[in-house]
Amino acid sequence: MSSGLRTQVGQLARRSVLRTMRQPAQIVPALVFPLFLLAVNSGGLKSATNIPGFPTDSYLTFALAVPFMQGALFSVMNAGTDLARDIETGFLNRLALTPLRGAALLSGLLAGAVVLGLVQALTYLTVGLVAGAELVTGLGGALVIVALSVSITVAFGTIGLFAALRTGSGEAVQSLFPVFFVFLFISAMALPLELLQTPWFHTVASVNPVTYLLEAFRSLLFEGWEPEKLALGFGIAAAVLAAGMLAASTALKTRLVRT
């Protein structure tokens, strides 16, 4: 990376991080909402561990994978809404008058998502372990969980950037939230894939990448080191990141031409 590009990324990253940290309305729901659902679901579905074939006797441990995915969904909203606000206020137009490179803009904007992803991952993991969840892979597993969580958060953040650049509207970005929630709910979120009995639901969950992201987290929590599941989890995150960045770059070019 050239020093010019490094400076551009650094400046925008600093702004993105500061902006995220100065908005409790972005941070608090992203932390509280997933933990609330974790508490409710792990209490309400505790008896699901009595279903023959359920992989662990702690539903809390099983459900602890879900907040990491919900946190990533918040990253779509936060990254997208921030950029949409820049478009709505004309800040992006001002940036377009500078020699700023598109790659610097997109990378810098994701810095806020990285920081938020880190805070989220550490909070969810700490709260989960304090509440009694297992972590059979120990400290190493905890580090991989945090790394996977941040990767997914950043990858999903690029989708938020794409949506913002495509629509230029914070409201449109916000309306994506339910769409992503559908992906989460129609996955092996509440029960393992092999225990999903409704045939069409099982089929949809089997092709839903969110299922495999959840399985990567779960493998570290209660199965042990499962290289295949981890590779699939990180692979999906990388694929989403690549596709999201490509789509966002194209949308950025279109938007800058428009302005």
Partner: protein
């Protein structure tokens, strides 16, 4: 005579407010589509994704897991139909339209009644779609006519209570920024009830909370109606009637605050 005129005035205000709100709802896909799709989505996710929970030892709901979850989603859609109407009230205050209502209405309670009527109409549309989909999906219904009327009757009370709660918040905050304050407590109280399994299969803190949560009585009674084995009926209807009365007072206080604010 003046009493009759008062009733007529109240009715015409309520109908006018309800008509505008219902018209906005049915002609704007941004309002209409989520109201229909979200309950279907929850129903699908819960009844489809969690059907194996019906095999948990001790789970003996006679009509099966689909009907068990249908009752929750029905009451949830009732509550959120009311809450989203509160969003509309807040939006009307933000845009200044609600002030015009306050200026024009001789009996301002008619405004709240109109919003309540609109909340019911929009929720009826949701229930029509939800019930149709549930029946097509093979939901078993053990209850008969009166029991099913009672189930939907409970849901009407829930809708009214949630709407009055949200209206009270909306008229105090008078901004859509009050949305989370309308929504989150309703979400909280709904999910702190026996959503996935009966109360008897809950344990620990969630059992303790669900045992004193009034929504538990509504859910258990609703599930009793759909399975044809009514249970906790008196308690459920006592809760169903009490909640709108309490939130009616809350909404009246909100209306006075809005009037005082001008």
């Amino acid at each position: 005579m003046s009493g009759e005129r008062g009733v007529a005035s109240f009715r015409s205000i309520a109908l006018a407010v309800a008509w505008r709100s219902v018209h906005n709802f049915f002609t704007n896909p941004a309002f209409f589509v989520p109201a229909i799709v979200f309950p279907l989505f929850f129903f699908t996710a819960f009844a489809g994704g969690l059907s194996a929970v019906g095999n948990v030892p001790g789970f003996d709901f006679p009509s099966g897991y689909t009907a068990f979850q249908f009752v929750f989603v029905l009451l949830q859609s009732a509550a959120f139909g009311g809450v989203f109407t509160g969003f509309g009230i807040a939006r009307d205050f933000e845009s200044g339209f609600a002030r015009r209502y306050l200026l024009a209405a001789s009996d301002r309670r008619g405004i709240v009644a109109g919003y309540a009527l609109a909340a019911l109409v929009r929720t009826l549309a949701t229930w029509t779609v939800l019930t149709t989909v549930a029946l097509v999906a093979g939901m078993e219904v053990g209850g008969e006519g009166v029991e099913l009327v009672a189930l939907y009757g409970l849901a009407v009370f829930v809708n009214l209570a949630a709407m009055l709660w949200a209206a009270g918040v909306a008229m105090r905050v008078r901004s859509i920024q009050g949305g989370p304050f309308m929504q989150f407590p309703v979400f909280l109280i709904l999910f702190l009830a026996p959503v996935y399994v009966p109360l008897s299969l809950l344990s620990g803190w969630i059992h303790a909370v669900a045992s004193v949560n009034p929504v538990t009585a509504l859910l258990e009674s609703g599930r009793g109606f759909i399975s044809g084995e009514p249970t906790t009926v008196a308690l459920a209807f006592a809760v169903a009637v009490t909640l709108p009365v309490l939130f009616g007072l809350w909404a009246r206080g909100g209306l006075r605050r809005a009037e005082a604010a001008g």
